[in-house]
Amino acid sequence: MSGFVSIMRREMRLAFAAGGEVLTLLLFFVIVGAIVPFAVGPDKELLSRIAPGIVWIAAFLAMLLGLDRLFRADLEDGTLSLYRLADMPLSAVVAAKVIVHWVTSALPLILVSPFLAMILAMDTETFWRTVISLLLGTPALVAFGTFGAAITVAIKRGGLLAPILIAPLCVPVLIFGVGVIAPLGGPDQATVAMLFLAALSLTAVALSPFAAALAIVWGEE
């Protein structure tokens, strides 16, 4: 267990150290959200109607952008090979990375989402729903993303490939994520969406470390 904690601590330090990408990712998230009004016009009514979708798309894109750094740096400096030789199974290492990746790339987005909510003219209730749906849905995005990063780590120029592979698999997360916010079929549908979103996240987080570890091992052989 100490190995698990020390890997988490290492990842955390790397993410927040100089050259870490947390701030860049945050900036990207905010800019994507802020650029939409330029494309669709500053109509407040329209913006507040599509704001949840914009926030979700911005979060989704920010997630995809951060994927490549997940295993690539570890592969290049040899850390990944050491992880494979370590006592603890590789899936546990991946699980530690999944948790830290969520804390360093999803949690900050949720923390700055009030800013986006304000400039996109969201009302308070929608905003809280958005926060809940992001909290429930981003673990699934991170889990799928980790799997995609693991699959493409063996490819020299795999940076663009992971988002292409992962985006179709993330469609249910987006659907249920937005379903939590804007329940078209009435309020009971929001609960349904919430439960499905939570189920997706739990399943994906539980299974993805094993699939990702398998992909890393077979990719390196």
């Binding site: 493409t152 063996a154 490819i155 795999g158 592979l165 179709p168 659907i175 379903g179 997706l200 052989e221």
Partner: protein
């Protein structure tokens, strides 16, 4: 006659040899192609001359005889890929790699055909080329998954390594496809409660069903024939690559 004490190799193991595979399947290709052609001739004759036009949709209903088999094959080929992926991961069967690789472009083409004929059919009957209907949307995502798999194949230099990675992705995709299907249905039924497709499905007249079944068989046999041919091509392609490497080594030394 001497007593054999070595265990006899099963046909399954012998099939693992690429050379044997090509040797065994080559005689199959021509008869299969012949049956496919005959079925297509029959099916096309039925669908154009021996089946009534729909009382609502008119002659456009004949698009169904291409559309439905394509949609069926887009799922059939993914099933083929899943079985091959299991073959790669569980048995490390060499031909499973080849089968998985051959199935991906075929599946993508059939999925694209299902979407294309569907939108051609949708224009006169629904008045639109594209509708965010549950089935269409999940078929579109299916196409993206196929294209992603093809891109993944192309990204690797080492085909053996690629096979195992693609196999993992194919299996994860197979777990995901029902979830996607379900979520898209949930999502789009909220948007449009009644869909033209679901209302029509079960009420197909037997006169329309005969050509449909013939075309289904024809298309399925076509896909199997094409699968065998492209597997053989892949085996030969790998052989050529090996020979080229050998030749390059020989010249360098």
């Amino acid at each position: 006659m001497s007593i054999e004490d070595t265990p006899k190799m099963s046909w399954w193991n012998r099939l693992a040899h690429p050379g044997f595979f090509v040797q065994w399947t080559t005689p199959l290709v021509w008869p299969l192609a012949g049956i496919t052609l005959a079925l297509f001739a029959l099916g096309v004759w039925y669908s154009f001359f021996n089946s009534p036009a729909d009382y609502q949709m008119g002659d456009t209903v004949r698009i169904m005889y291409v559309h439905v088999p394509s949609a069926w094959l887009s799922q059939f080929m993914y099933g083929m890929m899943v079985v091959s992926a299991l073959g790669t991961l569980v048995w490390r069967h060499p031909m499973a790699d080849v089968s998985m690789k051959a199935a991906a472009p075929l599946g993508a083409v059939f999925t694209f055909m299902a979407l294309f004929t569907g939108s051609l059919w949708g224009r006169p009957t629904w008045g639109t080329y594209w509708e965010w209907d549950g089935r269409m949307t999940s078929t579109l995502i299916m196409l993206f998954i196929y294209l992603g798999i093809i891109a993944l194949w192309r990204a690797f230099d080492d085909k053996l390594k690629a096979a195992r990675i693609v196999a993992i992705f194919t299996l994860v995709g197979a777990i995901n496809v029902p979830i996607i299907k379900f979520s898209v249905d949930w999502w789009s039924t909220l948007h449009q409660p009644s869909s033209v497709l679901t209302a029509e499905g079960s009420k197909i007249a037997p006169e329309l069903l005969t050509p449909l079944f013939i075309m289904l068989f024809a298309f399925t046999l076509l896909s199997i024939t094409l699968q065998l041919i492209s597997m053989q091509t892949e085996v030969k392609r790998r052989r050529v690559a090996t020979l080229e490497r050998k030749a390059a080594r020989g010249e360098a030394a």
